[in-house]
Symmetry: C2
Subunit: 402 residues, 2 copies
C-alpha cells in the first residue's frame, strides 16, 4: 500500500516523443511488459546508470550506444533484468537492438536497451523480437500512462508526473515516469526512469543538468540499501517546442527538472516494497553535504529504526544509536540535537527534559515522518528519503521468485 | 528458534572468579536480570568496547575505571541499556558503582558497570543498589550458567562455552558467556560477553591477545548492521591455576581464546533475532583482508540476500548484485567466481553453464549455508557470519518495547 501516492491523473504528451506498450509474455500474463519510446530525430539524450560493478547486460550496451550515435529508441522490458547473464546476456541485448533497428530503419547503436526484473535468468530473445513490429506500428504520443504501467515489477502503482514552465514567455513541458520498488539504493540513478521534454537543450548541458539533479533526488532515496544492477535514468529533450534552453534559462529548466525528479524519486519510496510510512531523514549543520548524507543514510538504512517506525514506536534510542555509528570523523555527541517532526528528542547529546512519550507517539503515528538531526558543526544539509521495514517487505522478497 | 545451538551442557568454574545473579526487577519479572562477577585480587583484566559515538553511560564509566585501577567487580544489568540517557545516565552508572564499592569494600573505580536493553530510558538506580547486598552475599564459583541466562534480552538461549588446554604440561581453563541478539554489528566488541581464565597472563599481553582475537571473531558477525551503543567484552585472567602464559605460550593461549570467542560470536548469530539459517560468507583471493571483509560484509548485510535465504530461494543474482555494489576499488567482475556450498554459480563473472536450480535449492534448503566468493586478485581471506532475515525479525523489533 503506497504512502500518499496515487495513480497520476494525467501525463502530458511531449512533442517528438511517441510510445507503445505490449504484452510480450516475458514474465507477466494479462499485462503489458514491454515499452518502446521513440525520440524524434535531432533530440538530445542524457542518461545516468548504476555504478554496480555487476551491471546488467543492457546497461553495458546502452552505455556503449549512447557514446556512439544519436539515440532514436529506448526499448524496455519488465520481468527479466538480463543481469548476471554473462556473455549470453550481452549477446541477447545486442540482438534485440539489432532486431529493432531493422524494423524501425535505424542503426543498431541508435537503440538503448533496458531491462528490469529477476536477475540471473537469460532474456527470452524471441519473445522480445517478435513483439517489435507491433510495438513500432502502434507508437503514439499519448501512451505515457500505459508506459508507466508496463515498466512496473513489484510496484503497486504507476509513477509519473508532468510539469510545465515558462521559458522566455513560452511554455515547455516535462513528463517523466519511473518504477521501483525493491533493490533501491541508487548510485547515480534509480531502477528505471524516463523523462522527456519538448525544450531544446544542447546535449552536454542536458547531461550536466541531469547529473546534478540526480545527485539531489534519486541518489537520496533508499529502500533496502541494495544498489540495483539495472539502474538507469534517461532524459530526452526533443526540442519540438522550439523553445531553446541556453545558459540564461538553465536555472529555470534545472528547477523544473528537479521538481520532476524529486517527485518520481519520492514516489518510488512511497511505493517501496511493503512501505507503510514515508520517512524524511534530514541532517543539518554538518561539515559537508557528504557528511550530512552519510549520517542521513546510516539512519535511513537502519533496520531497527525502520522496524520501530513500522510499529509507530517512538524508540528514538535507535535513531541515536544509528547516528552514533555513522562512519564520519570525530563526532562530538554533545553538539547533536535530534527532532522527530517538531518534537525535540535530544539536545546537546542529552535527552530533552521536556520530551514525553505521548509527543513521540503522536509523531510516529503519522504516515509521513520527519527525522531531523543537527550535528552542530557546520552548515551543510542533506536529506535521505526512505520507508519503513514491514512484514510485507520480507514477504515480498521471500516470495519474489515463487 | 536458534540455528544449531543448544543450552551449554556445562560451564566450568574458573578459580578466582565468583558470580551471583538476582531478579532486581529492572524490566523482567520471574527471571534474574542482574549479574555480579568478582575477580580475585591480582587478576589481569582486558576489555574492548563499542565504537559507537553515542556509547552508553556504563561504557564511558567502564573505560575510565579500567584505566585507573585494578578491576575487582563487573556489575551487569539486562533490560535497560542506560544509553542515550545523558548526564543523568552517567551519574546513575557512577552511583551504582559507588554503592557496590561500599558493599564490597573496594574503590569505586575497581567496578566496571554494564547494561543492555532498551535505549533512552533512565536506569532505575534504587532497584540496582538495593539488590547489591544480596548479590555480594551469594557469590559462588558455580554460577556461570545462571549468569549466562541473566544477561539475556531477546536471546532465546543462554550462550557459553568452556575450554581446557595444556600449557607446559599443566591445564588451564577458559569459560566465556555472551548475549546478542539484535543491534548486532560489532565494531571492536559485541553486545556483552564475559570470559575468564585461571591462567596467569600479564595485562598488556592479555589486551593484545584479546584485541587480535576479537578482530577475527566478534568483529566478523552481523545480524542487522546496527552497531550497538553498549557492546562490551571483558576478559579476566585470575592466575589462580598458577600456570603462567609467557611469550612462548601465547600462541596456544591465543588459539584457545579464539576458539572460545568464535563459538560465542557464532552462537550470537545462531540465536539472532528471528534467525532460521546460519550463513557463512567467505571472500577469498582479495587484495587485502580489509577488502575481503568489505565484500563479505556487503553480502551479509543485504536484506535481499537475507530474505531470499529465509525462503530457501537460491536467488543468486542478489548475491552477485551485492558483490557488485561493494565499496571496493576497480572490481573486475570477469575474475569473480561465486559458490553456494560446493555448487559453482558464477565463474569468471559468467553464470556457470553446469548450474541447475535443483543444485542451488539443495544448498539453500540447508540451515547452515556457505557463500564463497573468489575475487581472483590476491590471497587475502575473510569470513562474515550472519543469519537470514525473517518475519520474526520484523515482529521482534516492531514489538520490542510494547
Amino acid at each position: 500500500m503506497a504512502v500518499h501516492l496515487s495513480v497520476p491523473e494525467f501525463l502530458l504528451p511531449i512533442k517528438g516523443i511517441r510510445l507503445a506498450t505490449i504484452n510480450a509474455g516475458i514474465r507477466y500474463k494479462n499485462r503489458d511488459d514491454m515499452v518502446l519510446i521513440e525520440a524524434a530525430e535531432g533530440s538530445s539524450v542524457a542518461a545516468v546508470f548504476t555504478r554496480n560493478a555487476f551491471c546488467a547486460a543492457p546497461v553495458t550496451v546502452a552505455r556503449a550506444h549512447l557514446a556512439q550515435a544519436p539515440i532514436r529508441y529506448l526499448m524496455i522490458n519488465a520481468g527479466n533484468a538480463n543481469a548476471g547473464t554473462g556473455s549470453e546476456g550481452l549477446a541477447a541485448a545486442t540482438t534485440t537492438c539489432e532486431a529493432l533497428a531493422q524494423v524501425a530503419g535505424v542503426n543498431t547503436n541508435q537503440v538503448l536497451p533496458f531491462s528490469t526484473g529477476v536477475i540471473g535468468v537469460q532474456l527470452p530473445v524471441a519473445k522480445v523480437t517478435s513483439a517489435l513490429p507491433e510495438l513500432v506500428a502502434s507508437l503514439t504520443e499519448d501512451n505515457w500512462m500505459k508506459a508507466a504501467r508496463a515498466i512496473m515489477t513489484t510496484d503497486t502503482l504507476p509513477k509519473g508526473i508532468s510539469k510545465q514552465v515558462s521559458i522566455g514567455g513560452q511554455t515547455i513541458t516535462i513528463t517523466g515516469i519511473a518504477k521501483g520498488a525493491g533493490m533501491i539504493h541508487p548510485n547515480m540513478a534509480t531502477m528505471l526512469s524516463y523523462i522527456a521534454t519538448d525544450a531544446q537543450v544542447e546535449a552536454s548541458f542536458l547531461q550536466q543538468t541531469l547529473s546534478s539533479v540526480v545527485d539531489d533526488t534519486f541518489n537520496c532515496i533508499t529502500i533496502d540499501g541494495d544498489t540495483s544492477t539495472n539502474d538507469a535514468l534517461v532524459l530526452i529533450a526533443t526540442g519540438a517546442s522550439g523553445v531553446a534552453v541556453g545558459e540564461n534559462e538553465l536555472a529555470t529548466f534545472h528547477a523544473a527538472l528537479k521538481e520532476v525528479c524529486l517527485f518520481l524519486a519520492q514516489a518510488i519510496v512511497r511505493d517501496g516494497e511493503g512501505a507503510t510510512k514515508f520517512i524524511d531523514v534530514q541532517v543539518e549543520q554538518a561539515r559537508s553535504r557528504e557528511e550530512a548524507h552519510t549520517v542521513a543514510n546510516t539512519v535511513a538504512l537502519s533496520p531497527l529504526v525502520k522496524t520501530a517506525l513500522f510499529a509507530s514506536d517512538p524508540n528514538w534510542g535507535r535513531i541515536l544509536a544509528a547516528v552514533g555509528r555513522s562512519p564520519i570523523d570525530s563526532l562530538d555527541v554533545s553538539r547533536i540535537s535530534i527532532y522527530l517532526g517538531d518534537t525535540l528528542l535530544v539536545k546537546g547529546g542529552q535527552p530533552s527534559p521536556d520530551y514525553t512519550e505521548a509527543q513521540g507517539q503522536a509523531e510516529t503515528k503519522k504516515d509521513e515522518i520527519k527525522i531531523r538531526i543537527s550535528l552542530g558543526r557546520g552548515d551543510a544539509v542533506a536529506n535521505v528519503w526512505t520507508c519503513d521495514f514491514s512484514f510485507d517487505y520480507v514477504k515480498i522478497n521471500a516470495e519474489y521468485r515463487s
